[in-house]
């Protein structure tokens, strides 16, 4: 037996998963409170003790960890045009597993700088201009950041003709120069920046977040948890050289504060004549809805879906829904222990999924032209994606996961939203997906096998 320990330092819980690399199977998983204020190792030791109660004493040969503790990887980005380089910067940061606090466009002003200093991001991503294009904006913003001070690292990934100058302007700061996130108009190049963000996370952020003590114990790969999750989803979809994956998929993670949507899909149009609009979409895409969450962002769900929709889905009358929502918003650790709260939580999760997947998916636009009807597509077409992976406390602890997740599907009332028409639901009941992402770095075959075995099928809907 070759036991491997996979650790996920979450903001609330430290989750541990044990895998036997010899036989390629899951040994067990457990969770305990994260203790980042004192020593993260306490929480880790507690979790491992719980784990070993199930499995017996394990001599771990390797330990890998990811973390979203202490606020996760908090980033701010600035670009030039909102729909172009600023969007590319946001896309790069989210794909690297960061929590994007804010994205600025055009020139930073004094108010913006004050805001940035107050937010104290872990990393600032400075972009703008295509290669050979606009230099004024990124140079202005580099000067503004240099004048402002602060000690957060800055990644420069804009117009290559301005990169060196920005580096000089920011001399004395921790500066990293990457390839442009948008080297040519309409071309996304976000991987080099994502790699750089991950390296900074490893080298510096882990220290700053009080995770160093833990990192002495682990063999490596400290990455932000969403980054591990994304790696797992990509592996599950694409497979390895020797074993095929399950194909294109969407994953939904409804949390207390945010709802994350992942898609591993090319998203090309259904009809060949469709005109593509906007930035090209990355095959592996993550979006985060900061206003959609089951507790801290509960009011955002209500705002997006409407109180009546939630009343109808839950079967609770609107006045009562209002009362309960206000209560849950201020008592964020409430668990759905009564049938009423259970029904409400289900309805909230359903509408959280509908809102977040609608924002993640692309849209079609019909235009009548002199040559007849024409279609323009913005974003990804996910209509033919037929697997939806579901995770997050509100979804894996209920029996009605499939019913809730079916709100991710194509909706007759919103026919231009390119969501899956028919899908099978796969539930991460044991909460192992981030762990499998970590495992996939060195043992992709085993991680894929375990995911295929452990993800629980929960019906198909259309």
């Amino acid at each position: 037996m070759k036991p491997i320990l996979l650790i996920d330092f979450g903001s609330t819980y430290t989750k541990v998963t044990a895998v036997d690399a010899d036989e390629g199977r899951l040994l067990g998983s457990a969770a305990s409170y994260t203790t980042v204020e004192t020593d993260v190792n306490d929480g880790l030791a507690n979790a491992v003790a719980l784990l070993e109660k199930q499995t017996g004493k394990l001599e771990f040969q390797e330990r890998y960890a990811c973390s979203s503790a202490a606020g996760g990887l908090r980033m701010i980005a600035s670009g030039l045009v909102p729909e172009l380089t600023a969007e590319a910067a946001k896309c790069a940061s989210l794909g690297a597993g960061a929590k994007v606090i804010k994205t600025y466009s055009f020139e930073l002003n004094e108010d913006d700088i004050e805001e940035i200093l107050a937010e104290k991001p872990d990393i600032f991503l400075l972009v703008g201009g295509t290669d050979g294009g606009n230099k004024a904006c990124i140079i202005n913003n580099a000067k503004a950041l240099a004048a402002a001070g602060g000690n957060f690292p800055i990644v420069i990934a804009g117009n290559r003709n301005a990169a060196r100058e920005c580096e000089r302007i920011l001399a004395g700061r921790q500066v990293f120069v990457c390839e442009n996130v948008m080297p040519k108009f309409g071309v996304l190049n976000i991987e080099p920046t994502q790699q750089c963000i991950r390296d900074i996370f490893l080298g510096r952020i882990v220290q700053a977040k009080g995770l160093t003590k833990a990192s002495e114990l682990i063999s490596g790969i400290m990455m932000p948890t969403p980054s591990a999750f994304l790696a797992a989803m990509k592996l599950l979809a694409d497979g390895t050289k020797t074993e095929s994956g399950i194909g294109e998929l969407i994953a939904v993670d409804v949390g207390g504060a945010t709802t994350d949507i992942y898609s591993i899909a090319s998203g090309m149009p259904e009809h060949p004549g469709t005109i593509l609009k906007g930035l090209p979409e990355p095959y592996v895409k993550r979006t985060v809805e900061g206003d959609i969450g089951m507790r801290y962002s509960i009011h955002g769900i209500v705002e997006a879906a409407g109180i009546d929709a939630i009343a109808e889905t839950s079967g609770i009358d609107a006045e009562r829904v209002k009362e309960l929502v206000d209560y849950l918003g201020s008592h964020t650790d409430t668990l759905p222990t009564t049938p009423e709260l259970e029904a409400l939580d289900e309805a909230l999760a359903s509408h959280a999924i509908r809102t977040a997947v609608t924002r993640h998916a692309g849209r079609l636009e019909e235009t009548y032209t002199m040559m007849g009807l024409a279609y323009a597509q913005t974003g990804k077409n996910l209509k033919s994606v037929n697997r939806i992976v579901v995770t997050g406390g509100s979804l894996i602890h209920t029996r009605n996961t499939g019913r809730i997740a079916s709100f991710a599907l194509y909706d007759q009332n919103d026919p231009m939203s390119l969501k899956p028409v028919k899908a099978e639901f796969l539930v991460d009941r044991k909460y192992i997906l981030a762990a499998m992402g970590l495992l996939s770095e060195h043992y992709p075959e085993i991680a894929l096998k375990i995911m295929k075995e452990e993800l629980e099928k929960d019906g198909t809907a259309e």
């Binding site: 030039l80 045009v81 729909e83 172009l84 380089t85 703008g128 201009g129 295509t130 050979g132 294009g133 606009n134 230099k135 948008m182 040519k184 108009f185 309409g186 005109i275 609009k277 235009t367 009548y368 032209t369 002199m370 040559m371 024409a374 323009a376």
Partner: protein, 138 residues
């Protein structure tokens, strides 16, 4: 000298793609850096592309007769977006029906376009005009 950058595309709900491709190749062969936005391009898309790429000119095509409506306000939007003095060209079948082109041209110049090209203009004519206006030496 570095290449001059052009942003080109067919404006509005117009899906005429062939001429657009011909212009892309002709301008590229003539030594320009060309950002081709394709068909069904909105005013905002030309402007966004021109800002990021620090473009020297925007060349708008319209083949379906609605060009006058589609192009209205383009100069003002450029000014608003900080692209004061941007070289703006328009060409194709930019109005409906058979109207005397000198009148059509007058209307587009009054809208703030630097040049307007009549139906059937060869790419070489536009290229020569671009080189003159952008001071490109042969």
């Amino acid at each position: 000298m570095s290449k001059k950058t052009l942003v080109i595309g067919v404006i509005g709900a117009d899906v005429h793609a062939v001429g657009n491709k011909i212009l892309y190749h002709a301008f590229t062969d003539a030594g320009f850096e060309v950002i081709n936005l394709g068909v069904m391009v909105s005013q905002e898309e030309y402007i966004a592309a021109a800002i990021e790429s620090n473009a020297d000119a925007i060349v708008i095509s319209s083949l379906y007769g609605q060009g006058e409506l589609d192009c209205r306000g383009m100069r003002e939007k450029c000014n608003e977006a900080g692209l004061e003095g941007m070289l703006l060209y328009v060409g194709g079948n930019i109005v409906i029906g058979k109207q005397p082109f000198d009148e059509v041209e007058k209307r587009f110049l009054a809208m703030g376009f630097n040049r307007a090209f009549a139906p059937g203009t060869a790419p070489e004519v536009t290229i020569a005009a671009l080189k003159e206006d952008l001071h490109v030496e042969e």
